[in-house]
């Protein structure tokens, strides 16, 4: 058995030194104070005020992050669930190709996709023209007649980047539903709606939990979409942490905010995976 541990050793060393210890190290760091205004060196001093200050200043930003993440995930789900059903039940032998088409956009850097959205949503861009042509300018989606640098742009960008992470776990869950079950339901005179409500929906619930998780947590911690599609009023929590750490050199407050974000994400994981094991997540 000793050589099982030899095989594990290098990987475990990596996980311990680069993941576990630095993550635990955030706790004392979040209670420290900076030594100077010009460096990242700190001194431990039980400064709980880092949390109070952080939540006071960045509470609204945190709230906004989860609002944007929740909104984009909800919007994405409205698109992803029907798409996953279409792939599973109408895709036939083209299912692998359709799944590939869902994955393909993720192979382009999300910064390049943000550049694409900048062109599309810009002041002379086609989306703004379409919104005007359809007479949708008064729905509160624009700010000063612009789309770029608005919450709309950020939520749209987030929805687009997170969509594959919603579709894939749903397709996997739907593929596990045996056709026989649906045929049996049909034999028992269940119409399409009852077949969906009584068979498809309950059996897709585990996939739904994974999908929500894979979309919500990265979206809440996203940096790129708020930074490049939003204005100063659309910054999210990860932008605040990056700014505190890299610009203001306030490592302890950054660590405090990061731990709060991690705790909130942990609560989301726990709530969504209460019924399944960690394997639900590992599958993805």
């Amino acid at each position: 058995m000793w050589w099982a541990w030899i095989l594990l050793a290098p990987g475990l060393l990596w996980l311990t030194l680069l993941y576990l210890l630095p993550l635990l190290g955030l706790v004392p760091l979040s209670l420290s104070e900076p030594l100077s205004r010009f460096g990242l060196e700190t001194r431990f001093s039980w400064r709980l005020a880092n949390y109070a200050d952080g939540m006071g200043t960045y509470g609204p930003v945190l709230l906004r992050s989860f609002a944007f993440a929740g909104l984009s995930t909800a919007l994405g789900l409205l698109l992803a669930y029907p798409l996953a059903c279409a792939i599973r039940f109408r895709g036939g032998r083209w299912q692998p190709l359709l799944i590939g088409l869902v994955v393909l956009p993720s192979l382009t850097s999300y910064l390049v996709r943000a550049i694409g959205w900048t062109s599309l949503l810009g002041d002379n861009g086609p989306v703004l023209g379409l919104v005007a042509a359809l007479g949708l300018t008064d729905l509160g989606l624009l700010r000063d007649g612009r789309l770029l640098n608005t919450p709309t742009a950020v939520v749209l960008g987030l929805t687009s980047t997170q969509l594959p992470f919603l579709v894939l776990p749903l397709v996997v869950a739907l593929q596990r539903i045996e056709r026989r079950l649906l045929e049996a339901a049909a034999d028992l005179h269940a119409g399409p709606w009852r077949r969906f409500r009584l068979v498809v929906w309950p059996l897709s619930r585990p996939g739904l939990a994974s999908a929500l998780l894979l979309s919500l947590i990265p979206a809440a911690g996203d940096v790129v979409n708020p930074l490049f599609l939003g204005g100063p009023n659309e910054r999210m929590i990860a932008n605040a942490i990056a700014n505190l750490l890299l610009v203001q050199l306030q490592a302890p407050r950054a660590a405090a905010l990061a731990l709060v974000l991690m705790a909130l994400s942990g609560v989301a994981v726990w709530l969504l995976l209460r019924r399944g094991g960690p394997d639900d997540l590992a599958l993805q």
Partner: protein, 262 residues
């Protein structure tokens, strides 16, 4: 009723694909744009000039090569460490396997910014100057979980009796592993490498914390929003998409010969 449902399903699916592909279409289109000024963001007119000089933007090309090298090294390291872990966890099952599998899955539940913060504070504490080394360390770390879990899932899907049969026929355990398990593992190794490579190649958040003066492609692109968006950005990105899309097609089982989900 069934007709309306089908129509709605098709409409929503089309909308979803539109949202996925809108920025991609723009990227390909704008690689043929002749921009006025420094920002290739507004359509001016068609040209092939950018495609004749895909490497005209020297700083972009340099960042591209840096990311290529980094992603190759990080993927190799992650697949090596992760593969050994997966083998041990699936085949030898030492005590505590479940706890270790959980530890592997844990980083996947953390927002990237949390990992970035903890890695930067570690490198500051160790007085390790930020640069290629810290980039490689942090990239190999976040790829490790994906590589190990992908390979572990592949190994779990194997029939262990194949290896036992080889041993019954006189092969030593090591020979059985080399002649039976390893060849079967090749698709899994390929998948884990591709996944790790693309995760590292695309990483922005963790790199922005641990890169120091080193400029990877995503870091260059982030700077481009303030500095200059040259059409070469769209040309190179289209090339990357063509290559990675080709690899994806090769890796995808198509048509009736593929595994039927039912």
């Amino acid at each position: 009723m069934r007709g309306v449902g089908s129509w709605l399903l098709a409409l929503v699916s089309a909308l979803a694909f539109a949202l996925l592909y809108a920025p991609i279409v723009v990227m390909v289109l704008f690689s043929f744009n002749a921009p006025r000024g420094r920002f290739n963001l507004v359509w001016q007119g068609f040209t092939l000039a950018n495609w004749r000089q895909p490497f005209a933007d020297g700083a972009l090309t340099q960042a591209f090569l840096t990311s290529l090298a980094l992603a190759l090294a990080a993927a190799a390291l992650a697949v090596l460490l992760g593969g050994l872990m997966a083998l041990s966890l699936e085949r030898l099952r030492p005590r505590g396997s479940r706890a270790i599998a959980l530890l592997l899955a844990l980083p996947l539940t953390n927002p990237e910014i949390v990992l970035a913060t903890s890695l930067l504070s570690l490198f500051v504490d160790l007085n390790l100057p930020r640069g290629p080394l810290t980039l490689l360390l942090s990239h190999s770390l976040f790829c490790l979980s994906y590589a190990a879990l992908t390979l572990k899932a592949r190994l779990a899907g194997f029939d262990p009796s194949l290896e036992l049969a080889a041993q019954d026929l006189g092969a030593t355990p090591l020979a059985a592993f080399r002649r039976v398990t390893l060849p079967l593992l090749v698709p899994g190794l390929l998948a884990a490498s591709l996944l790790s490579f693309s995760l590292s190649f695309d990483d922005y958040v963790i790199s922005s914390f641990t890169a120091g003066e080193t400029v990877t492609l995503p870091l260059y692109l982030a700077g481009a929003f303030q500095r200059e968006i040259s059409p070469q950005i769209q040309v190179l990105s289209t090339l990357v998409l063509l290559v990675s899309g080709g690899l994806l097609v090769l890796a995808t089982p198509l048509g009736p010969s593929g595994r039927r989900p039912d």
